[in-house]
């Protein structure tokens, strides 16, 4: 027994050392982990810290109060209006994009097959141009005596509709901006639907609607849902569309947060608002992901 124990000792300590030391992978990932820790976690920690600081102060971690949250949830505070508008805009953006992007994604998949996701990357190219520049471009298009109005008048027609600086044009701007974020995952999802399965269903006498409902849609669902989730999360934080195209006809929640950090100089209130929005989006995402049963959707069960 003693022999065995002596023989095993060095091995055990080596194992212990090995267990204590980081694996090669973890060591390689260390610089990225540090970078993420500093660049990603630290600001979030600061925001959480400020959310509990005395209003209109800079007492980060030096004071603790729930006053900021009390202000947000006070019945007299109208910030819920901004929050409701942001949620509404985000929901409508997702719904419209689902309807708009699906036929495009379907067409791309039909024409380009497995290369469709690659082709859909082309829709990402506008993202290389600053969002503000693209939105100002739309202002020039829709503005009185601008591209649309001016051209119609030049053709002897009564001129373009007055759509700028309205909630409707804000929604249009959001649909335009977030199209690639819906299209790409959706195309990827549709490209993963095996054509053989569709052909087999058709051979067995299934109709177009039946095939779409029972095969294509469920198999493409992970891509569709990821697109919807991504678009919703981005859209709920959108500001530029409401500011530039909408002319601030609506104050969205992210704009309220911005005002708190700039003109109001109430960093604690802005942070508390940011925390509420983050928690809401986080909870919604986790809930959606928990309901998103990939195995079932992929028909592996």
């Amino acid at each position: 027994m003693a022999d065995v124990a002596i023989a095993r000792l060095p091995e055990t300590s080596a194992e212990l050392r090995k267990a204590r030391a980081l694996s090669l992978g973890a060591r390689c990932a260390l610089p990225v982990a540090v970078l993420l820790g500093l660049g990603f976690l630290a600001p979030i920690l600061a925001i959480f810290g400020y959310a509990f600081a005395t209003p209109r102060s800079f007492d980060l971690f030096r004071s603790f109060t729930l006053e900021n949250f009390a202000t947000i949830f006070s019945p007299s505070n109208t910030v819920w209006v901004s929050f409701a508008w942001s949620c509404g805009f985000a929901l409508f953006t997702v719904a419209i994009l689902a309807l708009v992007a699906y036929p495009i994604a379907y067409g791309l998949t039909m024409v380009f097959g497995r290369a469709a996701p690659l082709i859909s990357v082309l829709f990402v190219f506008p993202l290389f141009v600053s969002e503000n520049v693209r939105l100002y471009g739309w202002v020039l298009f829709f503005i009185k005596n601008g591209v649309l109005d001016g051209t119609l008048k030049w053709l002897g027609l009564p001129g373009g509709p007055e759509v700028l600086f309205t909630p409707g044009i804000t929604l249009f701007g959001m649909v335009y901006t977030y199209l690639p974020f819906m299209l790409f995952p959706m195309t990827l999802g549709l490209a993963l639907v095996p054509r053989d399965l569709v052909d087999a269903a058709r051979d067995l006498g299934a109709g177009r609607l039946f095939i779409w409902r029972e095969i294509e849609l469920p198999l493409a669902m992970p891509g569709i849902l990821i697109g919807m989730l991504l678009t919703f999360v981005l859209a709920i934080g959108a500001t530029a569309e409401a500011k530039i195209l909408g002319g601030q006809s609506i104050i969205v929640i992210s704009h309220d947060i911005e005002i708190a950090f700039t003109y109001s100089q109430n960093w604690p209130l802005g942070s508390a608002l940011a925390v509420v929005v983050t928690v809401f989006i986080g909870a919604l995402t986790l809930f959606a992901l928990s309901r998103l049963d990939l195995d079932r959707m992929l028909g592996r069960r």
């Binding site: 030096r62 202002v139 500011k243 002319g247 601030q248 104050i251 100089q265």
Partner: protein, 388 residues
């Protein structure tokens, strides 16, 4: 006797340190630029309104001194001052804000330090007559210390398209234009919320620069809701000028030479900054003006280039460049010096409305601090939300 290390490391000090560290992290790209204990002969950090951060102004200074000059522009005073309060006092060397902040806030809070008076006061002799030393806003309350140098200034009330509303009508009707139901949907509001607080008070017939009664706040609230509801758009300077030029709006609240001069220089002299003939401001004055004061930050390791830069911008040629730096065009106090004034072309003088500048400044009270600004701003933000 020094405190033992263990004793001085209290929970509070650790939390303070963490707070400062996180605050600095959130401060962004300038972290490390201050490098608190390093020699700073070759670096200069400027916190300013747009214009001073332009390459036209900074590049000659960079090549002249071989220094690394960084400038960050922001579009409101409270943000800049709070950056110093939040711990960036070690980062910045110069801060350029509107007139009241240096003597009323930044000096009492020890965020800035006085300039060597003997060295800088002579510059005021060459400025326009109203800036002759001792110039109120450049001095401390007791009149002993020189707190900063002045340069850009201008009237800032509202802007009209004179093809739609004549200058005479605008000046005579004044702020009541924004009380006229017929003009609802025909005006914009510049996104400059501190000025909007001032101007909504004035539209409501109340002097903004005093402590307000509950009745006055009720009137302010009612005015804010109505004026915001009637606005076609709220936006930045570019949006306002674009909307005026295209005919989307006929006038906009909050604006002046600073905002409209780029459009005027671009061939739209029909757009004009207006200073009403009368109003509810002190002395029955109709408008509000601003004067920028640039001060040295109370940085424990202040760059020696800070003073050099303040002298550099006094040069007639550089002052002219500052007046016409990218973004906005403005009159400068140094126009009192013939060598500087002669550099301005007729078109440039027209862009900054030189023809009426003196009378408009005389009709304006100077920018000041609203004692109950926070409350007014909260009311205004709530009013803005009800636009939809």
């Amino acid at each position: 006797m020094a405190d033992p290390v263990g004793k001085s490391l209290s929970r509070r000090s650790v939390l303070q340190g963490m707070g400062a560290g996180l605050g600095a992290l959130a401060a962004g790209p300038f972290l490390g630029a201050g490098s608190a204990f390093a020699a700073r002969e070759k670096e200069l950090n400027i916190l300013c309104w747009e214009g001073y951060n332009s390459a036209q102004v900074l590049d000659p200074f960079r090549s002249q001194t071989g220094a690394t000059v960084k400038a960050e522009s922001l579009t409101n005073d409270p943000t800049m001052i709070n950056r110093l309060r939040a711990g960036e006092i070690n980062t910045w060397d110069l801060i350029n804000v509107n007139n009241p902040w240096a003597r009323k806030v930044m000096l009492p809070e020890k965020l800035i330090k006085p300039l060597p008076k003997a060295e800088f006061e002579p510059f005021f002799a060459k400025m326009l007559p109203e800036f002759k030393a001792p110039y109120k806003w450049a001095m401390s309350d007791d009149g002993k210390d020189l707190l900063g140098m002045v340069q850009r200034f201008g009237p800032y009330s509202f802007v009209v398209n004179t093809d739609k509303i004549s200058r005479k009508t605008a000046e005579e009707t004044g702020w009541d234009l924004f009380n006229d139901p017929k003009l609802a949907g025909k005006y914009g509001i510049l996104e400059s919320d501190d000025w909007n607080v001032f101007n909504l008070f004035v539209v409501a017939g109340i002097d903004p620069f005093k402590t307000h009664t509950p009745e006055e706040f009720t009137k302010f609230d009612e005015t804010a809701k109505r004026v915001f509801k009637g606005a076609k758009l709220i936006g930045d300077i570019a949006s306002m000028n674009q909307a005026l030029i295209s005919g989307e709006i006929d006038l906009h609240l909050t604006g002046g030479t600073y905002s409209v001069s780029p459009a005027r220089a671009d061939g739209h002299p029909n757009l004009r900054a207006i200073t009403p003939l009368k109003g509810p401001l002190a002395g029955g004055k109709g408008g509000i003006s601003w004067i920028e004061v640039t001060s040295t930050v109370n940085n424990p390791n202040l760059s020696p280039l800070a003073l050099e830069f303040l002298k550099y911008v006094q040069d007639p040629k550089v002052a002219h460049t500052v007046a016409f730096a990218e973004g906005t065009f403005n009159p400068v106090a140094q126009m009192g010096n013939k060598a500087c004034f002669d550099l301005f072309t007729k078109e440039e003088l027209d862009a900054i409305q030189w023809d009426s500048l003196e009378e408009e400044m005389a009709r304006s009270v100077e920018y000041d601090i609203v004692p109950d600004y926070d409350k007014a701003l909260d009311i205004m933000n709530a009013a803005k939300r009800l636009r939809g």
